[in-house]
């Protein structure tokens, strides 16, 4: 006999929060509900306002160039170049902002409406694993298309294909500074040193380090500084097309391998020798990184922490890592190992929701519409988790202590209060509570909701309740 809380755990922990009727539809066995979601291609986000990253970046590069040229001529013509510079920078920002808004809205709408919330949750998991952050130039315009193009289509495929797509996407190359990394003995370096002795030509090791540390092996995964440097040289040439400027060539805004930036020669990474096959050298290293035991372990630990508990039970991590290795990183196999482990269902409410989880689950639970415009972005800002703005390539943290601060809690309560006031008598909290929380609904919450002074306050108490804060 399955625990009656199974459907509540399935919907709230593995999904994005129950909607009215979901728990009944899931029935007694949450496993089947999860397994069914793995069938078929992942949902794609479409919409006239969602443009390709190539198009977004090409136009952004063009705008920036116009601004730089205007600045130069202004500086010649006027002494007040500072004011112009600020105005034109704002123009680039104004161009990117509506793109960001459309992308956030599309993602939020998918999260509230999807019938395959597990797939959406793993999509968000991978987007956070391969985090980019909008506080770097162009990323406000690219974070959404990066997720749609590189991540979303591959979350039910293999880890190595996902990894390759991510590391060759312009958003990641820009975010981790690889597009201008130059091999010290490359053709471009030889040309540059003749021209400009003052300027140092060389690599930028940011992408190489973060791939090893954050995307694959994990820190302590057995790589050294020598491996980082060698891998950075392997990745020289992984760049972005542009029609003008220092490295003109390729399709503007699109990934391109620039052989003139690539460091010639074989490289040794993690005790393996990689012959110089141009772009193939980097692909070979990435494929090998995806196969490492340390990678399996690192990914398994993060998944189990995300879904099961802040301190991931070792047995589940072991099983998920084993599935990763045995299946050569076949992600549906990995997910099944995760949710088929009985430990994954033992502790109810072991995870404190992130602000994003909290907001999405409230929207789903109360059937709130995600309207167009900037309004739906506000709760994420107020509660401290602006979409795609983790501020670091490590992504948002995933432990309760990172999110349960006193000030964070009072903001959730204030937001719950505002939501209650907005919805008022259009929803019946007493009727909703068991539908959203199932067996996890406590007597204290049930009583508080029943005794509330108004329909609005009852909703506030439901959304602010301890069990709604967790999953």
């Amino acid at each position: 006999m399955l625990d009656p809380s199974t459907s509540a755990i399935a919907a709230n922990r593995f999904g994005l929060g129950a909607r009215p009727g979901d728990l009944a539809a899931i029935g007694a066995d949450g496993h089947d509900w999860l397994r069914a979601q793995l069938k078929g291609a992942p949902p794609v986000l479409a919409g006239a306002e969602l443009r390709s990253s190539t198009e977004i970046l090409a136009q952004g590069l063009k705008l920036r160039r116009e601004f730089q040229e205007a600045k130069k001529s202004e500086a010649r013509a006027s002494s007040d170049a500072g004011a112009t510079q600020k105005g034109d920078l704002e123009k680039v920002g104004q161009y990117l902002k509506p793109i960001y808004v459309s992308e956030v809205i599309a993602r939020f709408q998918e999260a509230t409406a999807t019938e395959r919330p597990f797939v959406e949750r793993v999509t968000q998991f991978w987007a956070n694993h391969f985090a980019v952050s909008i506080d770097k130039q162009f990323l406000a315009g690219l974070a959404g298309s990066f997720e749609r193009e590189a991540i979303r289509p591959r979350v039910l495929g293999s880890f190595s294909e996902l990894l390759l797509a991510v590391e060759s996407h312009p958003a990641m190359l820009l975010y981790l500074d690889n597009h201008l990394s130059v091999g010290p003995n490359s053709l471009a370096a030889q040309r540059g040193e003749r021209r400009q002795a003052q300027r140092r030509i060389g690599i930028n090791e940011n992408l190489a380090r973060e791939i090893m540390e954050l995307h694959t092996l994990g820190v302590g995964g057995g790589y050294t500084q020598t491996d980082v440097t060698a891998f950075a040289e392997v990745l020289t040439g992984w760049s972005i097309g542009d029609d003008r400027g220092r490295f003109a060539g390729g399709v503007p805004g699109q990934f391109m391998f620039r052989s003139e930036l690539h460091e010639p020669g074989a490289q040794g990474v993690l005790n393996t020798r990689y012959a110089d096959t141009g772009i193939g050298q980097g692909i070979a290293v990435l494929r090998d990184l995806a196969r490492q035991q340390a990678t399996a372990r690192f990914i398994a630990t993060k998944l189990v922490r995300h879904f099961v508990a802040d301190d991931p039970p070792a047995a589940v991590v072991g099983r998920v890592a084993g599935a990763f290795t045995a299946s050569e990183g076949d992600l549906p196999t990995v997910y099944r190992a995760l949710f088929e482990a009985s430990e994954s269902w033992l502790q109810p409410l072991s995870k404190f929701k992130t602000p994003s989880d909290y907001i999405v689950s409230a929207y789903r639970g109360l059937s709130l519409p995600v309207e167009a415009g900037k309004g739906p972005l506000l709760p994420f800002e107020l509660l401290g988790q602006r979409t795609w703005a983790p501020g670091s390539p490590a992504g948002w943290p995933d432990r309760g202590a990172d999110w349960d601060g006193a000030s964070a809690l009072i903001k959730r309560i204030e937001w719950a209060d505002a939501v209650g006031a907005r919805v008022g008598s259009r929803r019946d909290a007493a009727q909703l509570a068991p539908q959203l929380l199932g067996a996890n609904l406590s007597d204290a919450t049930r009583t508080a909701v029943a005794r509330a002074a108004s329909a609005a306050q009852a909703l506030t108490l439901l959304v602010a309740s301890p069990e709604f804060m967790r999953r």
Partner: protein, 424 residues
Amino acid sequence: MARMRRRDFLNLTAMAAGGAFLTARVAFGNVSGRKARLVVVIMRGALDGLAAVPPYADSDYAGLRREVALRAAGAPGGALPLNGFFGLHPSLAFMQQCYAARELTVFHAVASPYRDRSHFDGQDVLESGSTRAHASQTGWLNRALAQIPDRRSGELGVALGQNVPLLMRGPAGVTSWSPSKMPALDEDTLARITDLYAGDKLLSARLADALQADAIAAEDAARSPPSTMVATADTKMEAPAANLKAPLPQAYNARYAEITHAAAGFLRQDDGPKVAVFDTTGWDTHANEGGAEGQLAGRLGALDTGLATLKQELGPAWTDTAVLLVTEFGRTAAVNGTRGTDHGTGAAAFLLGGAVAGGRVVADWPGLSSRALYQGRDLAPTLDLRCVFKGVLEEHLGVPARALDASVFPDSAAAKPLRGLIRS
């Protein structure tokens, strides 16, 4: 003024009078005379110490830094003078004034025990006070607060932000505070939520902390309306405006002005928290770092302005204040191929404030020759940051020496407290 507070002062007073749950927690009037205040600023992302505190007289410096090298003090656009060998980045004008007033000590070639190059593990070691990453779920500053003899009823520390960083997590009572844009909760709803959380240890404690921090902030705002924050309504507490090439210094300015204003509000009060902590970001300058002007210059300038605001707003309490600025590690000695610097080792740190016995650079300078560099690439660390932390905790906050070597910084007996950092 309304922005500063979650509910207005009259409302708060009414609540305190009517709700026993609040009166128990708001204990004003327990004035204890002068108290030491400590502000810790975590500079996440690895501040480039060789740019913030350029050793311009080191003969290897200009060659390593090439186009981002800062010129000597006295040269146009050059470093601000410290001691003839080191200077301060030209954006750090307020800090230079502090130095001249003997209220700033600069530490160079410092490092925590961490010797690899991951930001996240580096920050973990910096904050936990352990010798290796992920060894502790609590932070050294919290464990130090737990050792302070004169425990009062209120919280000892406040994190300016929604959540508490690892540095401040642990057994001692701390809270977090950030301004709210949302309307106030009414008294009845708040009372019902307090009841609803009664059976939940974590949430009931957090809610109590939040209400106490609010009460202090409201009390402060009633006494001294914010002076410098008028134009920041749309940018508060969010990450500074994204998307633009150079980060907009104005956005950083607004955020720091707001945080330092709030920090000062808590610390000014004799019965408020002794310790305030906040995060700063944007120091991970892998590309286009800039020199006297540019990306890093803008961020340093914003921070410098924020510190000046802090001094101004602390008023007389500045005399009893020490501000510690630390980062997880330094950056490569040489500029990289994209006019930036990669993750390194030896870093710079700063201690400033009216309580500081300053006007000096503390550095056992290892030099920048290729032989002197750590692993041939980074400034070699010659001073353990824990020596600085211990000195400040002992002299400024009165943390017993025994506790420093045992619970605050485990396995650290070899790292002796640096004495004489605080005015006697």
